[in-house]
């Protein structure tokens, strides 16, 4: 075990995976010598050479198409999109190509060795174009896995699993935690299973569900609720697609209440999908409507970032409203 921040944990995972798999390539804008704008790929070019870790020209659609080609021909491919806000030129390659490679060819071809890493989320004064959480655009695309870690230990284990998963994975990294989240990370190679949520705190009155950077928001809100005598069960969904219905349904069956929190706008967000499924699974156990604490239905505003965010206070209010319903 060693204490490290999330960037170091991601860097460690990439290094371990490249060491173990000589067919693995890491590339993207500024990821080579400079080590990426957040330094997640720092030192990899020096260690593994310019042919395995390199800068690409500045073209996200090119990066994604190139990645598809590599993966379709047997390479392990980790492509960085510098900010999730800039993934949209690559949307066609990801949605129409990565996601459908296997299905359209009757499993003759696939891009299972492909992982996109991309920093997402707000809280860094990044305005419209350095703050977005676009996960729901991808969870609506069958064929893609979508994974979001909450801390360094999770980031390392989930990223190693994503790289080795035989399906294309989009790995959203909560950039506001890159340096802020520091914790013990096991040394060496380990994987955390994709598609499995984790109950990180047991409780009995309400289930709180989120992923990535919003996990710490849930924990703060749960602490506040605890002082009012409300016992919260906290779940990190970890993989959004395919998501772990059983773990969430089991918890909600026990608590009778569910609150889902995400930074992305409310309308069309992934919370809606979870709410619809859980009301089917747990209809007779529910004691209040499923609550969603999410971003507003606006572009991400710089100056009112604090007001826009689904923060701990809003979550705390929603917990109380749910319990008092």
């Amino acid at each position: 075990m060693a204490e490290m921040n999330m960037l170091h944990a991601i860097n460690d995972a990439l290094s371990i995976a490249m060491e173990a798999d000589e067919r693995m390539l890491v590339f993207g804008e500024d990821v080579g010598h400079f080590g990426g704008v957040f330094r997640a790929t720092s030192g990899l070019q020096e260690k593994f050479g310019r042919e395995r870790c390199f800068n690409t020209p500045l073209t996200e659609q090119g990066i994604a198409g190139f990645a598809n080609g590599l993966a379709s021909n047997g390479m392990t491919t980790v492509a960085e999109i510098q900010f999730a806000d800039y993934i949209f030129p690559a949307f066609d390659q990801i949605v129409n190509e990565s996601a459908k490679f296997r299905y359209r060819s009757g499993n003759q071809f696939d891009v299972g060795g492909l992982t996109f890493r991309t920093p997402y989320g707000g809280g860094i004064a990044g305005g419209h174009y350095h703050s977005q959480s676009p996960e729901a655009y991808f969870t609506q695309t069958p064929g893609l896995k979508v994974v979001v870690p909450r801390n360094p230990e999770q980031a390392k284990g989930l990223l190693l699993a994503a790289i080795r998963d035989p399906n294309p994975v989009i790995f959203f990294e909560p950039k506001r935690l890159y340096r802020a989240s520091v914790g013990e990370v096991p040394a060496g190679d380990y994987q955390l299973e994709l598609g499995k949520a984790e109950v990180i705190h047991q409780g009995k009155d309400i289930t709180l569900l989120a992923w990535g950077a919003q996990m710490e928001i849930l924990e703060k809100a749960a602490d506040m609720a605890e002082k009012e005598g409300i016992s919260c069960e906290i779940i990190d969904l970890r993989t959004l697609s395919p998501w772990d219905v059983d773990t969430v349904a089991k918890s909600v069956t026990k608590t009778g209440r569910l609150l889902i929190n995400h930074e992305a706008p409310l309308t069309g967000g992934f919370a809606g999908e979870i709410a619809a499924t859980i009301q089917e699974e747990c209809f007779l156990s529910l004691e209040s409507p499923i609550a969603r604490v999410c971003g507003l239905d606006t572009p991400y505003p710089l100056i009112h970032e604090k007001e826009y965010m689904p923060d701990a206070l809003k979550t705390f209010e929603a917990i109380k409203a749910s319990v008092k319903f």
Binding site: E29, D30, F34, N55, Y129, L296, L313
Partner: protein, 392 residues
């Protein structure tokens, strides 16, 4: 006609073309000592225009120096300088008419100044206060002003390129004697939008000037890792477009090229590509440190090619710059910028109600409901939302 090509020459042995096949000269008018090349054909420029150009350069240098400092002090969250690229930006903008529409990338605030954006307007945007034309919604330096025909900056790269093609085409359809000009870097020219935008402009005959600031770096990525061809200019020829490469640190060369590009675009309803060879003397932004990807020696070499100093020498040779003008201008703008900072940072941020405005032409019922709930919440916890709680 199918398979349209320019000639029907055939050969009977395999013979490939390569990047050396296309000869692209660089236009230079102004020499390092401020004199012009003997055979140079000068742009149209009188003393008033020359003074305005120089004034804009001095202001921009002062603004960049002061606001980078303000960012370091934590007074604004982010900044980008255009240091080293002033000739490319001001020289091109100075060739335009006020009705020509500018679609910039993000490093072209010198053009905005040339158009008449005031020091207060710069500050209001950077401090996201209630007087910001963009209502505080974007990061610093994402300026925009409809009044000055300068479309609002969007961070994603190259998105403005095909948009400029559309703006140029619309000006033609509206019968206006104006062009669109689109600024972008050599890094952005790798995006798909670049290729789409230029090809469409050439095919659809859009009077648009595509102005590439080839400044050597896209954040950390040098041009050798960005493209393998003969710069960006070679692509314009490929798209069938009038194309020129200029010394981007030569104010007169940039001005001359853009004046003629504009005239050509209007006369022929056709696009023009200008590639200005320059150097980003500063960091990409306040968020990166260039020592991680380039040498001090390289930077020092380019300091020798300072475009503002070269233009200043020319002005002095012409007798258009009085001995003390430079010092006076600098002092004036330093005071002006400092005073404007002090005012702008004390102005309140936009009202919380603005958060749901402009998503659509009018807020939807759901947005109104979200705002009502948000305001109730802020009222309950005013100490946690200090920017908005006092002005609900």
């Amino acid at each position: 006609m199918s398979n349209a090509t320019l000639n029907t020459e055939t050969v009977h042995r395999v013979s490939f073309l390569d990047k050396e096949s296309l000869h692209i000269p660089t236009l230079k008018i102004l020499q390092a000592d401020g004199t012009t090349y003997e055979t140079a054909v000068l742009p149209v420029i009188d003393q008033a225009l020359a003074e305005k150009i120089y004034d804009t350069c001095v202001f921009t240098r002062v603004l960049d120096e002061r606001m980078l400092g303000a960012q370091r002090q934590g007074r604004i969250s982010f900044y980008m300088t255009c240091t080293g690229e002033e000739a490319a930006i001001v020289g091109s903008c100075a060739a335009l008419e006020p009705g020509d529409v500018i679609l910039a990338q993000y490093r072209e605030h010198a053009a905005l100044r040339f158009r008449g954006f005031t020091t207060e307007q710069f500050m209001n945007q950077m401090f996201s206060n209630e007087k910001d034309l963009g209502k505080g919604r974007q990061m610093p330096i994402h300026y925009g002003t409809a009044e000055l025909n300068y479309q609002t900056i969007s961070s994603p790269l190259a998105t403005q390129i095909p948009q400029a093609t559309g703006v140029g085409y619309s000006l033609k359809m509206q019968g206006k004697r104006n062009v669109a000009i689109c600024y972008f870097g050599e890094g952005a020219a790798s995006e798909g939008d670049f290729h789409a935008g230029l090809n469409m402009a050439a095919v659809l005959k859009s009077p648009t000037i595509f102005f590439c600031r080839n400044n050597g770096y896209a954040i950390s990525t040098p041009t050798e890792e960005q493209y393998a061809g003969n710069g960006i200019a070679s692509r314009g020829v490929g798209y069938g477009m009038h194309t020129i490469r200029v010394d981007g640190n030569d104010m007169l060369a940039v001005l001359a090229a853009t004046q003629q590009a504009r005239a050509y675009a209007l006369e022929h309803n056709a696009p023009v590509l200008i590639e200005a060879m320059t150097y980003r003397l500063g960091a990409h932004s306040s968020s990166d440190d260039p020592s991680g990807y380039r040498s001090k020696d390289e930077e020092a070499k380019w300091q020798q090619h300072d475009p503002v100093k070269r233009f200043k020498l020319w002005l002095q040779n012409k007798g258009w710059l009085a001995e003390d003008t430079d010092a006076k201008l600098q002092e004036r703008y330093r005071e002006e910028v400092l005073a404007a900072v002090k005012v702008a940072e004390k102005l309140p941020v936009p009202m919380l109600d603005e958060i749901i405005e402009d998503v659509y032409d009018t807020p939807t019922p759901l947005l109104k409901k979200q705002l009502t709930e948000l305001k109730q919440h802020v009222k309950k916890y005013p100490q946690s939302y200090p920017k908005s709680a006092g002005r609900l």
